[in-house]
C-alpha cells in the first residue's frame, strides 16, 4: 500500500505572520526516496511536518495516494515518522516501543509478536528487545526509531534528520542501512537533512530549499552538474564551488573570462551548451569552478596553450589522504552571495574588505605542493559554471 505524496503549492504562515514555507510544489512518486535539503531554517522540517500532519497547512494541498489530507489528523494519514530526537517512549521496552503503533491499532498479539521479531531481526535488535531506551546506545536508539516506523508498514516514511545525533562513523553505517531498507521495502520516503552528503547519497531526487522556497529539485547528479542558480551551486558539493566575478569576452567562436589578471578560455563546446552566454559579451558575470575541476598543473601534464591555468601561491595545504585540498588566493573579486554574507554575519565579522578571494582546489595526492610555494593550477574549463550576477541564476539558454 505504498503511495505517492503530492505537495501542491503548499505554504505555511505562522500566527505571528512569519512565513516558513512558500508555494512549495513537489511530486513524490510511489516508492521514491526524496530528500529535502537546505540550511537550517529553510523550511524543510516545516514542510515535512505538514505532510506528517503535525503542522497545519496554511495554503495549498497535500495529497497522499491521491487523497487530500489537509484535514486528516496525523494518526489517520498512515505515514510513519522518524524523529531527529528518536522520541522513544521512555517507560516502554524496545519491544513495546516498536509494538506501540500496532497495539494502538488493536492488531492481534500473535501478529504483533511476529512483526516485531521480523523487524528486530532486520535491524539487529533482537537481543535488546527487553531493554529500556535509556540503556541503549545512540545507534541502537536510532534503530529502534526506525523499527517503530517500519513495523507499521505505512504508506510512506518521513524522516527528520534521523542521523544528526550520531557520530560520524555510525552515521555512514546507518546511512547505508537506511538506503538498503528503503530499497528493499520500496516505501515512498521523504527525508529531511541539512547534510548534503546524506542528500546526495540517499536521494533518488533531491529538493534544495532555502528561505522557505524550493530552489531546485533534481537527481543528485543533475544538481551537481546543472545547478539552477548560485545558491544550489554553492550548497551542493564539498568543498563548495569557488565563485569569482569575471568579465566575459567573445571573439567569434572563441571566448574567455578574465578576473584580476587571470584569463581562462571558454571552449566552443561550453558556448554551444550555454548559448545564452553570448548575450553576456563584455559584461560581468560570476564564474564557478568546482574544486574537483582544478588540478596541480605539474600533475595534470603539460600546459596546452589556450589559457586554462591560474597561477598563485599555495596558502594552505590540507592533505586528506585521497585528495589534497589546496587553498590559494587570487586577485579577483569574490562573489557576494547571500550564503557568504549570512555566514559572515553569523561569525560576527564583516568579511574580507576589498578585493581578493581564496580559491580551493581538490588536487590529486600525487601533488608535491607545499605551503608558500608558487603554483600553477590547471582548470578543467569544460566544466566552468556561469551565473548572472543580478539574478544569481545559472546561464544556460
Amino acid at each position: 500500500m505504498v503511495a505517492g505524496i503530492e505537495i501542491d503549492r503548499v505554504g505555511k504562515v505562522y500566527a505571528d505572520g512569519t512565513r516558513a514555507v512558500c508555494d512549495l510544489t513537489i511530486d513524490v512518486m510511489d516508492g521514491e526516496f526524496l530528500v529535502l535539503v537546505g540550511p537550517s531554517g529553510c523550511g524543510k522540517t516545516t514542510a515535512l511536518r505538514m505532510v506528517a500532519g503535525l503542522e497545519e497547512i496554511s495554503e495549498g494541498e497535500v495529497r497522499i495516494g491521491g487523497e487530500v489530507v489537509n484535514r486528516v489528523p496525523a494518526r489517520d494519514r498512515d505515514v510513519a515518522m522518524v524523529f531527529q530526537s528518536y522520541a522513544l517512549y521512555p517507560h516502554l521496552t524496545v519491544f513495546d516501543n516498536i509494538a506501540f503503533g500496532l497495539s494502538l491499532r488493536k492488531v492481534p498479539k500473535a501478529t504483533i509478536q511476529r512483526s516485531v521479531a521480523e523487524v528486530a531481526e532486520v535491524l539487529e535488535l533482537t537481543e535488546h528487545l527487553h531493554r529500556k531506551p535509556r540503556n541503549l546506545s545512540g545507534g541502537q536508539r536510532q534503530r529502534v526509531a526506525m523499527g517503530r516506523a517500519i513495523v507499521r508498514q505505512p504508506r510512506a516514511f518521513l524522516m527528520d534528520e534521523p542521523l544528526s545525533n550520531l557520530d560520524a562513523k555510525l552515521r555512514v553505517q546507518m546511512r547505508a542501512q537506511i538506503a538498503r531498507i528503503q530499497r528493499d521495502l520500496g516505501v515512498t520516503t521523504v527525508y529531511v537533512t541539512h547534510d548534503q552528503t546524506e542528500a546526495m547519497t540517499l536521494g533518488d531526487r533531491v529538493a534544495v530549499m532555502r528561505g522557505g522556497v524550493l530552489l531546485q529539485i533534481a537527481s543528485p547528479q543533475e544538481l551537481y552538474d546543472r545547478p539552477r542558480n548560485m545558491l544550489v551551486a554553492g550548497f551542493i558539493g564539498s568543498p563548495a564551488m569557488n565563485m569569482v566575478g569575471a568579465e566575459l569576452a567573445l571573439d567569434g567562436e572563441d571566448a574567455s573570462v578574465t578576473f584580476g589578471g587571470h584569463r581562462l578560455a571558454v571552449p566552443a563546446s561550453v558556448l554551444h551548451r550555454r548559448p545564452a552566454l553570448r548575450g553576456y559579451d563584455g559584461r560581468r558575470l560570476a564564474v564557478g569552478i568546482r574544486p574537483e575541476d582544478m588540478e596541480d598543473a605539474e600533475v595534470a601534464g603539460p600546459v596546452v596553450p589556450g589559457g586554462d591555468t591560474l597561477s598563485s601561491v599555495a596558502d594552505l595545504v590540507e592533505a586528506m589522504g585521497a585528495d589534497v585540498m589546496v587553498h590559494f588566493p587570487i586577485d579577483a573579486e569574490a562573489v557576494r552571495t547571500e550564503d557568504i554574507e549570512s555566514l559572515e554575519r553569523d561569525a560576527g565579522g564583516v568579511g574580507h574588505p576589498g578585493r581578493g578571494t581564496v580559491l580551493v582546489g581538490r588536487f590529486s595526492p600525487r601533488t608535491r605542493i607545499f605551503e608558500g610555494q608558487p603554483t600553477t593550477v590547471r582548470v578543467d574549463v569544460e566544466n566552468l559554471h556561469f551565473f548572472d550576477l543580478e539574478t544569481g541564476t545559472s546561464i544556460w539558454h
Binding site: G53, L54, R75, A87, P90, F100, G101, L104, R134, R141
Partner: protein
C-alpha cells in the same frame, strides 16, 4: 516539592565536575572537622523534630493515672526509682470505641476520594492545558494560578450555603467536594508544569503511531508522569487527612473525621491526654505508611534515554 518532579531530564544527567587534584591544608582541615560537625548537627535537628512525636508515643503508652500525675519525660528520669508503667491498654480502648473507629473510617472515606478525584481530574485538565490548543487556554491557566492564592477561609461560608442548598451539608460528599475544589488548582498547576516538560516529539510520535488523545494520555503521559502523580497524591492525601478546619465546618457528627473527633475530646486541663495521644498517634500512622509506600515512586530521570 517541585524539585522532585520538575527536574528537566537533560539537566539531571550532568557529568560531575572534576575534582581538583590537590587542595590546601586549610581546606582539608575544614573538611575533616565539618563532616562530623554537620552530621552531629543534623542528628540534633532530627531529634529535636522527633521530640513531640516521641512524647506523643510515650504518653499514649502510659495509663491515665500516670499521665495525670506527671509528664511523659518522667518515664526516662524515673526509670531507676520506679518501674515504668507502660501499657497498650489505651490502644485497646481506642480500637474498641465505636465512635473513634467510626471517625477514623470517616477520615479514610474523605481522604481517599479527595485524593483520587484530584489526581484524576487534575491530570486530565493539566494534559489539556499543556498539550491541546484551544482558544482561551492561557486565560484558563492564569485563572488556575490565580486560584492558588485564594485562602480556604474566604470560601467557607459561601460553600457552606451552597452545600446546604443542594442538601450536601454535613455529609462526607460535601467535605470531599470542598477538598477536591481546593486541591485542584495546585494539582493542575503542578501536573501541567510537569507535562509541559515532556518532550513534544514523544507526543507527536504517539500521534503518528495512531494514538488518539485519550490513548496518548493513558499510555504515554500518565506512565511518564508517575513521579509527579505520586507526589501530588501524597501531598493531597496528607493535607486532607490532617485537615481539621474544613471538616469542622462541613461535617456533622456522623461524618466527622478523626481530627474533629479528637478535638471533641479536648478538655480544659488536659485530663484525657491518654485518649488524645493514642488517637493522634493512630491518625499519624496512616500518613506515614502512605508516604513510605509511595516514596519509591519519586524516581528521577524517568525520561532518560527517550530522546537524543
Amino acid at each position: 516539592m517541585t524539585s522532585v518532579v520538575g527536574t528537566p531530564p537533560a539537566v539531571a544527567a550532568r557529568p560531575p565536575a572534576p575534582t581538583p587534584p590537590r587542595r590546601s591544608v586549610a581546606a582539608r582541615v575544614v573538611e575533616r572537622l565539618a563532616g562530623p560537625a554537620v552530621r552531629v548537627l543534623l542528628v540534633v535537628i532530627a531529634v529535636f523534630w522527633l521530640m513531640p512525636v516521641l512524647g506523643l508515643l510515650v504518653a499514649s503508652l502510659r495509663p491515665e493515672s500516670a499521665n495525670a500525675g506527671s509528664g511523659w519525660w518522667t518515664v526516662f528520669t524515673e526509670v531507676f526509682t520506679r518501674p515504668a508503667e507502660l501499657t497498650l491498654a489505651n490502644y485497646g480502648e481506642l480500637l474498641s470505641d465505636r465512635a473513634m473507629l467510626g471517625s477514623l473510617w470517616n477520615t479514610v472515606l474523605i481522604a481517599v476520594p479527595s485524593t483520587v478525584l484530584v489526581v484524576v481530574i487534575g491530570s486530565l485538565a493539566a494534559y489539556a492545558l499543556a498539550w491541546i490548543s484551544f482558544p482561551g487556554r492561557d486565560w484558563v491557566m492564569t485563572g488556575v494560578v490565580a486560584l492558588l492564592v485564594v485562602p480556604v477561609q474566604v470560601a467557607l461560608i459561601p460553600v457552606a450555603r451552597l452545600l446546604g442548598a443542594v442538601g450536601l451539608y454535613g455529609s462526607i460528599a460535601g467535605v470531599v467536594l470542598f477538598h477536591v475544589g481546593f486541591g485542584l488548582p495546585f494539582a493542575v498547576f503542578l501536573l501541567r508544569n510537569f507535562f509541559v516538560g515532556i518532550p513534544r516529539d514523544l507526543l507527536e510520535a504517539a500521534r503518528m503511531d495512531g494514538g488518539r488523545e485519550l490513548m496518548i494520555f493513558w499510555r504515554l503521559v500518565l506512565p511518564i508522569a508517575v513521579p509527579a502523580l505520586a507526589s501530588l497524591a501524597i501531598f493531597q492525601f496528607l493535607w486532607v487527612w490532617n485537615d481539621l478546619l474544613v471538616a469542622l465546618v462541613f461535617a456533622d457528627e456522623g461524618s466527622a473525621p478523626i481530627t474533629v473527633a479528637l478535638r471533641g475530646q479536648l478538655r480544659q486541663f488536659g485530663a484525657n491526654v491518654d485518649v488524645l495521644a493514642t488517637g493522634a498517634f493512630v491518625s499519624m500512622f496512616v500518613p506515614l505508611v502512605v508516604f513510605f509506600s509511595f516514596q519509591r515512586h519519586f524516581v528521577q530521570g524517568v525520561l532518560a534515554g527517550s530522546t537524543k
